[in-house]
Each structure stands twice: as structure tokens, then as C-alpha cells.
């Protein structure tokens, strides 16, 4: 594919920016910077991956995964700045969700001890954990803010922070898992999974491809479930001062 085709495709981003300008949405700058950032990151990652795949020592693979987890935690934590210690909470959620899933897959032999298995699949796991953590964090703030008066009523009736924050936490977790659940429901019907398609194109047997893809789907669901739950449980706890009162900063607008 030539660069002129890439420029042609970029016209779609320009179209989205034009629509944003026309409708006064104010997201033109984000779209522009986001598209440039994605291009630069992918170019850099192309070269880095090429080098990473030449690595032999397992410690190096895991250092790469640790770096990915930290970056994901910062990005996700920034989504929940109203929650005290949001980055640490994101790190706990993404770290635990990714570690559990990775360990299960690694122990089961789905992920082989090679850079070209560990790094892309690890990245996929961390990325999914980050999505679930960001959604959980973002939704938790919204739910707590929305339920502020009910929460105060429950606290004033003698409820604990856990009791008062239970319903907002439940709603936040449900919302965080909607994309994962919808994705499982529509897999093979609406979107065709990349790994399975790649296996088939490379000449692999359909059954092998399906087995690998199913493992990936379960992996994504498990990671999102663990990351979302950890973020919501720790996040709710951080939003209360013991059983005394809620300490979530008020959101403007």
C-alpha cells in the first residue's frame, strides 16, 4: 500500500474533523492529535517489535509487559482523577487482571515462551484490562456523583460506606463489562476475530484456529472481569472516608 493511499484514507479523519467543526463539538484538536499520535506510535512500535522479537531472555519479555502495564495504568488512572489514588487503583486492576490471565494461559501452554507469542498476546491482555479499568473508573465516578444524595441518605441512616456505595459500584461494573459481553455475543456474527482469520489465512486448520480464538475470547472476558472488579472495589473504598462520608470531588458540568 502506497503512502498516497494512506493519505486518501486520512481524508476520513479530516471528514470527522470537518463534521466536528460544523457541529461545534470541539473535538477537532483531539482527533488531529490522536491520529498523528497513533501514526507516530505505530511507526515506532513497528521498529521496536522487530527488535523485541529477536529477544531470547524471558526477563526481557516481562519487563516489556511491565512497561505496558504501567503506561496503561497512567492512561486509565487519568480517566478517574476524581477518585483519590486513581493511578494506583488502575495499576492494581490492570496488573492483577493481566497477571492472572497471563499466568493461566502461560501455564496451559497457550502462550509459548517466545517473544512473538508473549509480547503481542500480553499486549492484548493489558490493553483489554486497561479498557475495562478505564470504563469502570469513568462510570464509577458518574454513578457515585449521580447517587450522591442517596448515598448520604444511606450513610445518615447508619449504613456503611460499602452498603452506601454498593449500587453505584454494581452499575459501574456492569457498564464496564458491556463491551466485553457484547463482543462475546457477536463474535463470528458481526466481527470476525483477527487471530482466527490470521490462522486460517496462514493455512491452519479451522478447529485449531477456533480453539486459539476461544482461548483469546475467554482471556479477554476474564481479564476485563478481574480488572473491572478490582478497580470498582478499590475505587469505591477510596471515595469514602471510612464510614463517615463520601470524598469524591464534585464534577463540574
Amino acid at each position: 500500500m502506497g503512502f498516497e493511499i494512506l493519505l486518501g484514507v486520512y481524508a476520513l479523519v479530516a471528514l470527522a474533523m470537518g463534521m466536528s467543526f460544523y457541529r461545534n463539538l470541539g473535538i477537532e484538536k483531539d482527533l488531529f492529535l490522536g491520529s498523528i499520535r497513533a501514526t507516530v506510535q505505530l511507526i515506532a512500535m513497528g521498529f521496536v517489535l522487530k527488535w523485541l522479537f529477536t529477544l531470547q531472555e524471558a526477563e526481557n519479555f516481562f519487563l516489556v509487559l511491565l512497561f505496558m502495564t504501567c503506561v496503561a495504568a497512567v492512561i486509565s488512572g487519568n480517566r478517574g482523577r476524581a477518585i483519590p489514588n486513581s493511578r494506583i487503583i488502575a495499576l492494581a486492576g490492570i496488573g492483577l487482571g493481566s497477571a492472572v490471565t497471563f499466568t493461566v494461559l502461560y501455564t496451559a501452554g497457550v502462550i509459548k515462551n517466545e517473544a512473538n507469542y508473549i509480547i503481542p498476546i500480553g499486549g492484548m491482555i493489558v490493553g483489554n484490562a486497561m479498557n475495562a479499568a478505564s470504563l469502570a473508573m469513568n462510570r464509577l465516578i458518574g454513578e457515585l456523583e449521580h447517587a450522591r444524595k442517596r448515598i448520604e441518605t444511606l450513610l445518615a441512616l447508619g449504613g456503611s460506606a460499602r452498603q452506601a456505595g454498593e449500587e453505584p459500584a454494581r452499575q459501574a461494573l456492569k457498564a464496564a463489562l458491556i463491551p466485553t459481553i457484547d463482543s462475546m455475543k457477536t463474535i463470528g456474527l458481526v466481527h470476525l476475530p483477527g487471530i482466527m482469520t490470521g490462522f486460517l489465512i496462514a493455512g491452519g486448520s479451522p478447529l485449531e484456529a477456533v480453539k486459539f480464538q476461544v482461548a483469546v475470547v475467554y482471556m479477554i472476558a476474564g481479564t476485563a472481569g478481574i480488572a473491572g472488579t478490582v478497580v470498582v472495589v478499590l475505587g469505591v473504598r477510596q471515595c469514602f472516608e471510612g464510614n463517615l462520608r463520601m470524598r469524591l470531588e464534585r464534577q463540574d458540568g
Binding site: L154, N243, L244
Partner: protein
């Protein structure tokens, strides 16, 4: 018999002073009004009494015991609170009324709940009604019943009538008197409305800029012609309410 609630030198600042050395007492079964304009620190003061707000300094004692030494969940069952705008939980009136005991792991007997509901002037068959379908006045009564289900010693009322229409205001004022006199609960009520304070005609604290400027029966305070600050406060407020701001 000693005071039920003792407030000692409460001070709080959010950049600027909100409460300044506020002290007062509430007797068992007493009815105390806290009167002041918007922003005078009334609601913040009330929230300090059940620890929804922490003061910078000072103390609140319940039966001579510092409330910071009492388990906060237990404290809030003894010091109930009704907010300006009721925030009922999704579900039926009954679901809302049993919340207090349920949060403490207790089951409220059905007959007690029915008795409480009729006590706040609502019919028994309303127990099965969805709380969201009630009028604001009815929701506020349910909020009273919800707080009373914990059998508190004292009820804190944060401008409980300010969201209601004039007829509902009078009905709720009767309920407040009933809670105080017949159910024998001490009541601390915040209001910005002098006419309402006059209707209760009880012990009143006047709060201005976070400082108590006067205490006593409200009619005596209005008749006080010697204190210039107090006179100016009442004259200003009465003129303000006379212009349609009050009820």
C-alpha cells in the same frame, strides 16, 4: 437531666470561616430551631452533629460522650437526619422504610412499619406504592418515617419544608410537632424562614456568617430592640420575606 446534645465551640473553615465557635445544647425531647439566611452555615452545622461533616475544632457530645468516640453507624441511628430534598431509594415505600433497620442487619416488624406510616399521615396501602410516584410532600413524609424507623433520640431536619408548597408546609410542620411532642424525639431543625420560626415559637438560635448572634424564643428575639445586629437581621429578613421570598 443533662443535655442530650452538647455542641462545644465548633469551628470550620472552607477558605473563609463557615462556623465560628458555635456552642449550644439540646435537651432530651427538646425542639430547637436554627435560623439564618442562605450561606450562614446552618446546614453545615447540622451535618457536624451526625459527623457527615468534620469540624476543624470543637466537639459534639451525645449524652456527655464525644461523638467521635461513638461508632459512627451507631451514632447515626441515634441521631437521625431528614434532608431538604428527599432522596428515596428505587422501590416501594416499604423498601425505603425498612432501610434503616436493614442496614443494621435487623428486620423491622411489619406492624411497626405500618404504625410508623400512619404516624406520618400516610395510609397503610401506600406501603406497596413505588416511591418514585409520590409527590414531594409524600416523599418527605416517607423520609421522616424512614429516619424514625431507626428509633433515633434526636432528629436533624435540614430545611425539610423548603421544597414543598404552602399547604404541604403546614402539614409537615404539624408532623414535626407530633414527632417532637407525641413521639418524644428531640428535634433540631434548620430554617431560613422567620414566619416558620414564629409558627413553632420555640427556642431558636440565630446564625449569621457562621456565628450565633442570639439565642432564645424567636418572638423575644424579634422584640429585642437593643441589639443592633439582631434588629437589623430581623428587619432585613422580614422585609425580604414580605416581598415574597418567604412563605
Amino acid at each position: 437531666m443533662g443535655p442530650l446534645l452538647t455542641v462545644q465551640n465548633l469551628s470550620l473553615s472552607f477558605g473563609k470561616p463557615v462556623l465560628q465557635s458555635v456552642s449550644f445544647e439540646v435537651a432530651p425531647g427538646g425542639l430547637l430551631l436554627i435560623l439564618g439566611p442562605s450561606g450562614s452555615g446552618k446546614s453545615t452545622l447540622l451535618r457536624c452533629l451526625n459527623r457527615l461533616q468534620a469540624p476543624d475544632s470543637g466537639a459534639v457530645l451525645l449524652n456527655d460522650r464525644d461523638t467521635r468516640e461513638i461508632d459512627v453507624r451507631h451514632l447515626r441511628r441515634r441521631v437521625g437526619m431528614v434532608f431538604q430534598v428527599p432522596a428515596l431509594l428505587p422501590g416501594t415505600v416499604e423498601h425505603n422504610m425498612i432501610q434503616g433497620p436493614a442496614l443494621a442487619g435487623k428486620t423491622a416488624p411489619r406492624q411497626d412499619i405500618e404504625h410508623l406510616l400512619t404516624g406520618v399521615g400516610l395510609a397503610r396501602d401506600m406501603l406497596t406504592r413505588n416511591a418514585a410516584t409520590l409527590s414531594i410532600g409524600e416523599q418527605q413524609r416517607v423520609a421522616f418515617a424512614q429516619a424514625l424507623a431507626n428509633q433515633p433520640d434526636v432528629l436533624l431536619l435540614d430545611e425539610p419544608t423548603s421544597a414543598l408548597d404552602p399547604t404541604a408546609v403546614l402539614t409537615l410542620e404539624k408532623l414535626i410537632l407530633k414527632v417532637n411532642r407525641e413521639m418524644n424525639r428531640a428535634v433540631v431543625m434548620v430554617t431560613h424562614n422567620i414566619e416558620q420560626a414564629l409558627r413553632f415559637n420555640t427556642e431558636t438560635l440565630v446564625l449569621l456568617d457562621g456565628r450565633i448572634i442570639a439565642k432564645g424564643p424567636v418572638q423575644d428575639l424579634i422584640n429585642n430592640r437593643t441589639d443592633a445586629t439582631l434588629r437589623s437581621f430581623f428587619e432585613g429578613r422580614l422585609n425580604h420575606e414580605g416581598n415574597g421570598d418567604g412563605i
